[in-house]
Every structure is written in structure tokens, then in C-alpha cells.
Symmetry: C2
Subunit: 144 residues, 2 copies
């Protein structure tokens, strides 16, 4: 398994973990965020601007060693790490579906990121509703 | 950036890259796939069974060095790598939204994986339609 390499940097208004919002979609207006793609990778953005949403993968460098079972905030029951979206995971790769508002000079303007400013970008994938959108998926214990 | 560690193994009926389907959702019946989670990580599956779908991240170990711009199969135009879901990416992390049919003995029964048998598993995240589902997202050049 090869090493990961940062391909860019995520810019958000959240300077510390404590400032990162729990539910960024509840904020109005949505905080403006940006994704800076490093120069060697910028040609890879060609024709991405016609997608309305992207999936971003990033490295959660502040993650702590994971606990396999823990009681999440605002929950009364212990849950397995893979039944939560905690950053403290065996492989701390963060994922966000972001709205893409524009691309200019290797910088994507996006909404709905809740990670810390300066987070290392690993990948950008176009969001494909035919395979990525399951609006009627059941949310398990989060609904219980 | 820490090294990645495999936390399990994905089992599919596809022994070679050529056998991997282009559109796995078009297959009827859906090929039965499985996700074997290695023993040290199995407790992390607690309470995952109540979710109907999961997001799987995995390592595309057959990926070739990426081209920033290339003409995808069945396309006439060159596209940027980040506007495609090709496995040949700067950080070859694969992503799939899979239907979760059951969990037993550290093994998840799932549908809708199109990766090669034996692929290294990196992460399992619960699928949350409130943040992951954008059914009306526009698919950019794929619709054009």
C-alpha cells in the first residue's frame, strides 16, 4: 500500500476542532469554503465544473487513536466506530459531499465542509446521483 | 500523514480487472459481495446493522500512475482525472455506496461493489442520507 500524498489544501473558517460545526447544513448562510489544488494536479480539474457536487476525501491529521466502541456525544448507547462518522478511525480519512459553486485558478468554491482549516486534500470525485444518492436509506440508530 | 492499514478484505465475484462490471447496478440479480473485517476491528461494527447502506473506502492496488487528463472509455472528449471515477488517481482510494444486507461474524453481506476480489478495505462509514444523498445533483459531462 503506497503512501498518501496531499494534492491540495481545504480552506474553511474553522481554525480549531472546537470551531468545527456539528451540523454545517443548519448554518445560514452556509460558510464559504475553498479547496486549493496544488499546481501539479490542476489539469485534473478539467471538465469538473459541470458537476454540481463533488465528493472530497481528506486526511484527518488531528485524529486520535480510535476506540472500537464508544458512546458518541448526544447519545446514551455505546456504538461501534464504523457506525459513526467520528474522525477517530483506524484510517482517519474524512469524506464530505460538497456543493460546487465554481472553479478558478485551481481553487474550488464549495459549501458544506465542516473540517478544520488547512486540512490536507486526498481526492476529488464527481458526485454521481445514480450510484451515490440513496435518499431513502435508513439511518439506523441515529433515527432510533 | 500516517500510513494506511488494511482493516479487512472485500470479496467479490470479480477475479480480474476485466471481469469488474462497468455498471454493477444493471446486473440482475445483483452479485453477492462480502466485506471481511479483520478481528482487531470487529468490535467497531457494533450497531452498524441498523443502517441500510454503508460507504466503503478501499485501496485500489492495481491502479496505474494517473494521467491528469485523458479520454475515458465511451467518451469522445478528454476529461480531468477528478471529473471521472477512474481508479488511476493520485491517491487511489476507491469509494462505493453499498446496500448492507446483514452482518455476521465480522462479515458484511453487501451489494453493488464492482472492485476486484481481495481488495484491501480502509474504512466503513454509515451512509447518512441527510448529508450524503443529493438525488438532484447534476452529473456534468456524463449527461451531456
Amino acid at each position: 500500500m503506497n503512501a498518501l500524498q496531499p494534492i491540495g489544501r481545504i480552506r474553511t473558517p474553522f481554525a480549531t476542532i472546537d470551531e468545527c460545526p456539528r451540523n454545517v447544513r443548519a448554518l445560514d448562510p452556509a460558510p464559504a469554503c475553498a479547496v486549493e489544488v496544488f499546481e501539479p494536479y490542476r489539469d485534473g480539474l478539467h471538465s469538473l465544473e459541470s458537476f454540481s457536487h463533488v465528493i472530497l476525501l481528506y486526511w484527518l491529521d488531528r485524529a486520535e487513536p480510535p476506540q472500537m466502541v464508544f458512546t458518541p456525544p448526544f447519545d446514551a448507547e455505546p456504538r461501534g466506530v464504523f457506525a459513526t462518522r467520528t474522525p477517530h478511525r483506524p484510517n482517519p480519512i474524512g469524506l464530505a459531499v460538497a456543493a460546487l459553486d465554481g472553479i478558478e485558478g485551481g481553487i474550488l468554491r464549495v459549501r458544506y465542509l465542516d473540517c478544520i482549516d488547512g486540512t490536507a486534500l486526498l481526492d476529488i470525485k464527481p458526485y454521481l446521483p445514480s450510484v451515490d444518492a440513496v435518499p431513502d436509506a435508513s439511518m439506523g440508530w441515529l433515527r432510533s
